[in-house]
Subunit: 341 residues, 4 copies
Amino acid sequence: MSQKINIGVIGAGRIGKIHAENIAYFIPQANLKAIADVNLSPAIEAWAKELGVQTVTKDPKVLLDDKDIQAIIICSSTDTHADFVVKAAAAGKHVFCEKPVDTTVAKVNAALAAVKKANVKLQVGFNRRFDHNFKRVRELVESGAVGSPQIIKITSRDPAPPPVSYVAISGGIFLDMMIHDFDMARFQAGSDVVEVYAQGAVLVDPGIGKAGDVDTAIVTLKFANGALGVIDNSRKAVYGYDQRVEVFGSLGSAAAENDAPSTVKLSSEAGVVGEKPMYFFLERYKEAFIAEMRAFVLAVSENKPVPVSGDDGLQDLLVALAAKKSLAEGRPVKLSEIPRE
Amino acid sequence: MSQKINIGVIGAGRIGKIHAENIAYFIPQANLKAIADVNLSPAIEAWAKELGVQTVTKDPKVLLDDKDIQAIIICSSTDTHADFVVKAAAAGKHVFCEKPVDTTVAKVNAALAAVKKANVKLQVGFNRRFDHNFKRVRELVESGAVGSPQIIKITSRDPAPPPVSYVAISGGIFLDMMIHDFDMARFQAGSDVVEVYAQGAVLVDPGIGKAGDVDTAIVTLKFANGALGVIDNSRKAVYGYDQRVEVFGSLGSAAAENDAPSTVKLSSEAGVVGEKPMYFFLERYKEAFIAEMRAFVLAVSENKPVPVSGDDGLQDLLVALAAKKSLAEGRPVKLSEIPRE
Amino acid sequence: MSQKINIGVIGAGRIGKIHAENIAYFIPQANLKAIADVNLSPAIEAWAKELGVQTVTKDPKVLLDDKDIQAIIICSSTDTHADFVVKAAAAGKHVFCEKPVDTTVAKVNAALAAVKKANVKLQVGFNRRFDHNFKRVRELVESGAVGSPQIIKITSRDPAPPPVSYVAISGGIFLDMMIHDFDMARFQAGSDVVEVYAQGAVLVDPGIGKAGDVDTAIVTLKFANGALGVIDNSRKAVYGYDQRVEVFGSLGSAAAENDAPSTVKLSSEAGVVGEKPMYFFLERYKEAFIAEMRAFVLAVSENKPVPVSGDDGLQDLLVALAAKKSLAEGRPVKLSEIPRE
Amino acid sequence: MSQKINIGVIGAGRIGKIHAENIAYFIPQANLKAIADVNLSPAIEAWAKELGVQTVTKDPKVLLDDKDIQAIIICSSTDTHADFVVKAAAAGKHVFCEKPVDTTVAKVNAALAAVKKANVKLQVGFNRRFDHNFKRVRELVESGAVGSPQIIKITSRDPAPPPVSYVAISGGIFLDMMIHDFDMARFQAGSDVVEVYAQGAVLVDPGIGKAGDVDTAIVTLKFANGALGVIDNSRKAVYGYDQRVEVFGSLGSAAAENDAPSTVKLSSEAGVVGEKPMYFFLERYKEAFIAEMRAFVLAVSENKPVPVSGDDGLQDLLVALAAKKSLAEGRPVKLSEIPRE
């Protein structure tokens, strides 16, 4: 590869920092040229300097106007994602956008239309597809080793709930948390979801209930290919981040267990004790974040399809909206019931 | 214990033979006195003789009339269970009845009324409660180690489907197969089910679909104590009998994996290969069948409550009927919708 | 099988009781006809009566003289084993003898000569060969799945040391405890041992050291077929009975882990906790004791070779004596150095 | 930290490249200033340029003379290690030296004396101490969770033997391969070795035997603190790199299993198949190589003791030489027999 891809990152919060550092340290095919953050601080400037970033600014427009930048990584607040996709596409830049693209179908549609019109790439940040365990499950499914998928089971539990203030603006458990699992379910099933039934309860924090959300949920899925699926979410697993996936099919089952910091077991009078799972997504998906960014950079530099498309983002949103409707109305909801415009 | 309980077994099919042998070989507190089977054959007679059974007959009435028999084990065909419970109770005998007591609420009610009137004991054959793994999960839950239960997850898959002819008369997957899991879910949750939603599909054998049943199902549950539950069933797991239970709560999770014939792992160029789960219920629940019968005999001999009551049988039936209705109507069904008379 | 084998048991201590009960309850091809114990007590008589034993006596001669008894199980104290083997053989009876046959080569030779002369069968009580895990390892080795064996590794640790008074008369750790592992090593290697080097230490109980023994030992082995082996023993593993075997070869490795009471794992803030291994040999080898007795009865009733021969007992003794000599002299000892007469 | 440590790497072979890349990419506290390789090639120059190295030379003297370089990483061929340690120390530079420092005691002594005289730091490249699994075992041992160590067990098998030509100049299995395990054993025992007994065999490749070495070995150890140890090595485990450690003590056991590329298990008719261990040291110890270099850099920059000292390197060498002597002479060898000069 002769030429490095110049990249600009919009939003230097937690996830923006991760992507920026991954590009700077682990992806030799890319050059982290610019960072924009509306809340630019001396700390961010110092951090960006350490990374060797050329342009550090409050104004995202600077990045969009920079002719040398080929790709934009959007890590700003969710409500600004779709607008930045539209603007970046209009500026002829490829886009990596954190999930979700938006919480409304209309704005996602607009973003996808802009991308299509500009003929640029759009990859959505469903990082779990790049996890070594879940990728291996998918490889086994694709290889035919489990036969035709019949049941997709996902366990996905966070170690601790977010602040109630965050929950209130998050769009709710389905749009904020389980949307990752909807994407994983579609990824593993190799098929889109056609119907959803959602159960939910407030078992972790009454404040979450007061904010109009649930903190514990079980959602069942029907896929276009006939397979069934089930996802369970909890906002609080005291033993750590619980991230497991199983695909059961006509020839067998492929199941991914949690990762732990070590394989060590302590046998004592108290029992045989192993380590808890990796604490949370930063630990568990550390390598996956690098891999998704590498995949995006290679898709751009080699002009190949991105591995997680804008349509994936749209489909996952539709499932989440159907789950929300299902919980509200206490009945299974077909995806065809969710307006596409 | 001074005196052995004399026991009569009605029905010498597969499960009747298991119970008879367990009583004869493993339960010194009981004496297997009589066996009745409407299809009595020389083979059954020879087998009974080997067990040292005193009375072998075609006529169950002989057992019911035998004043020395204190307890009857009902292993006849399902449609005769409730009638035998009524008759045995009327004869003043304690009753162990294979599951389900009946597939209709009315006949179960009649059986329970007869038992109550006669003041005899009735234990229903939900053997899985006695499995070493699931019992251990329950112990941990009861000890408070997982805190308050929030999610009950059960995986329950058979190694191979029964003949379609059997499926046609079985009452369907919920009454025939998943009823075990409904009982397990209630056992682990320590609470009754209040609402059910059932998804089903025909993914294993089209013949099962033609017989009006499904072979793959996912059912979500709401419990009276607020916990949620999910059960998945398949009639065919090519790798063997898949029987797992997990209880997730506010302080952690207790999860039972499958049993295998050995712990041996073979590491070779092909990977690290462990054994498949025990093939089917005869292997997996061998000890559990002994334990449930021992519990019944001790409940009788020491006049203590049976560990699985007639009301458990009724509750499990109600859940199964609600699941059947849910699948038929494509909506969640409250248990209060199922007529109790 | 037309006729049951009549069996007499000499010695009704712990292991004698196990064998007697296993014959009575689990081996329909045998009839437990007689029990002799020099310390006959009312408790033993009551227990024997419960088992339906016809003859209960202080005098082993009664059993040896009983023409209807075809086989004798020797469970008396170790110093009497060889004499009873000689007498039983002289009486034309097949013999199952608890390990070791004797702690001296001369008496084992005499016992083997008597058995050979009388043309009766002699099986030695190395029960671990019948353990489901270790048998599975051996099956994999015999199938060729691990290729030619190169390293045999055995971990064998007791949960708690025996009383020092027992240690003093036990013959020491190699003859009392590790002899089981020597037999397992030979079984898995499919080859005899030619050289031994023993390391030992007193790390558990100084009283064991005062009694002239060690409580912790590592022994390396060379086999006739070129393979190497290593065994480690401790008299005290606080987490329970640690019994693992690994055979490593040119095509891979077969490794058996411990058995536990259940597969349940508790995930909490404290970690992921599984159960300790089965507590001790009564629990771990419960099924193996039945299987070894069944194998003996079938060898007699079907006139087939016994699975653990008198020569196995002799070879294991030679290895143990070589280990003892090695520890005493601080050097590797060839088995050819141990006098065979 | 205000100032980066400038580092020069001598030797750009496989391990030199790893250290150089780790410094360049993962250790912000260090600056990779110079690389010397006697076989400098355009490929090495291009690679060094990509890493941003300022000085690339054939002549190690350039690095030693560079006043701005504070630390030297020695990755040249083993026979040059000690000389470079002496020269680097004389130049006032801290030293990280790949293992072994030398294969003779005399030259190691000289190196250690030079380091002492110059009052610089010397860290030896025993990377496995930094492995997440083995470090965790050590933490548990140090925490007292396993009580006083009694048995240290190490399994260490390579996936494939090196070329016979390499074996011939490697110093043999004990100096080349098992020296890592000797270091691990001492690390875990927290004590030095006082006696060694080595068994060896040629079971993998007759060519290795012709070269005067063995390819399969079991070594038992006695530690100064009374603990016993055992290590088994094979040059060829077809299932991959087998690296396990267990410390057994008075209060329990801490055991590290292998790492695998994923946690995924495929259950099918063929069994339950997990992944093989990571293929070899580059995969397994990827993070450990970074961690050891980070530890070295921090020891220098913060002027703290190095975690693996020159004396560790000497002690490990003594154990290896004792093992070599033991195998040659067929007897246990005390470390006091190995000349210290």
